[in-house]
């Protein structure tokens, strides 16, 4: 399941099915499918940083925020959506490079704390600098780009963006860069001795992950047509991290499944009302106890059991 080239068609079929299902559904499921696509883009970015390059980040929500605010603030000035998306992604990419610098000095839990601290500061800026961000009042009436104004059309736009991101990341992961990211995660000292520029690749892993967070944010703002700071606070960072882990950190399909669980679970557990987050948390803990490689790990073991002639699934070290 770690081999992107094997599961790429699966991911694209998933997108198409989601879109076709959405087209015949009511507005709310259409919104959920769009949200899934948006979250998946962000989770794919974080999976690149965390799952493939092995660098933990608790600041992904901030990058979604940068993308969302860039779009929400630039659209009223007549900047076309395509440009606001690129600008949001570029801002996140550049700030992602900066976020990567601490990772050159510290790893593991220290890196988790630095990124958590930076995410908290970013949230305070979103909340307090109301001259720019409108503070806690938020920004409303965010216009969707023509001709994607209807719910269904906007859903197709989100899915198309996800398809482009999927193809891009697929290409990236099978290129020498993907190999270098993996080397970075597994054994940076050995990687450096083979000429892998650990410094540059670490910064790139953060920057690309953050840039995808920015793309996700740019799509997020016109989806609900309203944004406010608390949407981009720590809980979203945790939530995105859990999506990656639930799906299967370091697997190509992981973010798709993780985001699906995160978006669908509140609906499935609708009868439990306020308890769904509690139940979600318990499910995550159980998953970490019983299947540390996430849903993808469960599926891979299931497939291996159905086809006993195949080589056994190697557990992650």
């Amino acid at each position: 399941m770690n081999q992107p080239h094997r599961v790429l068609p699966l991911a694209l079929v998933l997108l198409l099915v989601a879109g076709l299902a959405g087209s015949v559904l009511k507005p709310y499921p259409i919104y959920l499918i769009s949200l899934w696509a948006v979250y998946t883009i962000s989770a794919i970015g974080l999976n690149l940083t965390l799952g493939f390059a092995g660098q933990i980040s608790l600041a992904q929500a901030s990058f979604v925020g940068f993308g969302a605010y860039a779009t929400a603030l630039l659209l009223p000035h007549g900047v076309p959506f395509g440009f606001t998306l690129v600008i949001g992604a570029a801002i996140s990419f550049i700030l992602g490079v900066l976020l990567g610098f601490p990772a050159l000095r510290v790893q593991g839990h220290y890196l988790a704390f630095v990124t958590l601290a930076l995410a908290t500061i970013a949230f305070l800026v979103f909340r307090n600098e109301s001259w720019l961000t409108h503070g806690t009042a938020g920004i409303d009436k965010i216009a969707r780009p023509i001709p994607f104004t209807s719910d269904v059309a906007y859903m197709w736009l989100c899915l198309a963006a996800l398809a482009v991101v999927t193809l891009g990341v697929w290409w990236l992961l099978r290129s020498p860069w993907g190999r270098a990211f993996l080397a970075l995660r597994e054994n940076p000292v050995r990687a450096a001795s083979l000429g892998v520029d650990v410094r540059t690749y670490t910064l790139l892993a953060f920057a690309i992950g953050a840039g995808l967070g920015g793309v996700s944010g740019a799509l997020f703002a016109p989806l609900g047509q309203y944004i406010e700071p608390s949407e981009f606070a720590l809980p979203l960072s945790f939530s995105l991290l859990l999506m990656v882990v639930v799906g299967g950190s370091g697997s190509f399909l992981g973010p798709f499944l993780g985001a699906m669980v995160s978006v669908a679970l509140p609906e499935v557990l609708r009868s439990f009302q306020d308890y769904y987050l509690l139940i979600y948390g318990v499910i995550v803990i159980l998953l970490l106890v019983f299947s540390p490689d996430g849903i993808v790990g469960i599926i891979a073991r299931g497939v291996a059991r159905l086809r006993p002639t195949d080589a056994p699934v190697e557990p992650k070290p």
Partner: protein, 247 residues
Amino acid sequence: MSVVLEARDLHRHFGGVKAVNGVSFAVEEGEILGVIGPNGSGKSTLFNCLLGQIPPSTGQVLLDGKDVTGMKPIELNRRGVSRTFQLLQVFPQLSSRENLILAGQEHIGSRMKRLFGRPDAGLSAAADRMLEQFKLSHVAALPAGGLSYGQQKLLDAAMAFMAGPRLVLLDEPAGGVNLSLLGSFRERLRAMNAQGGSTFVVIEHNMDFVMSLCTRVMCIAEGKVIANGKPDDVRNDPTVIEAYLGH
């Protein structure tokens, strides 16, 4: 013949401990220099100083006559210095072929070209040739983590040759390798040395392996060079024998 690597009066102190205490030597092109010495004699620290893992306290390291003292491992690698580690350091999740491609890819083209170019960076053929030379063709597509210890050790060594290095430093290549494999392993290294014209420095505990592989042997004890010459001369040197027996 030109001098590839030269150490001039290297010192490395840890607090009061003089791990490397005035080591000077030179390695000429095409040589296979063996470095031996009892445990704790300073071999590993010397290696780390040569390879930029830790900077020497004083002294100089020259590569092709240029001062590379304290240069980082990655910069040395770009200048054609390749190495293996004492402990196995293959990438267990990558296949054998992918391990070799990784070992070569950063030396080809620019980073941007690598992103948009071929996924194997055009190295598949070279990797397969290397696999053939190290008798690993049958495990080319298997994850390296699933190979036997001896196979992983071979792969580990093969990775050091992917970038066509000028100088290869091998840290206990025979350590833990099955006796029955040692002979062929030695032949592989000899062949690499003969065809590539590259120069080796080898730390090794297995005396038979060192003496039969190397063109010259240097013995280190208490941070100093106590013997440096032809394998047979060093083997029979009384100071060397004393250094080993005395500790």
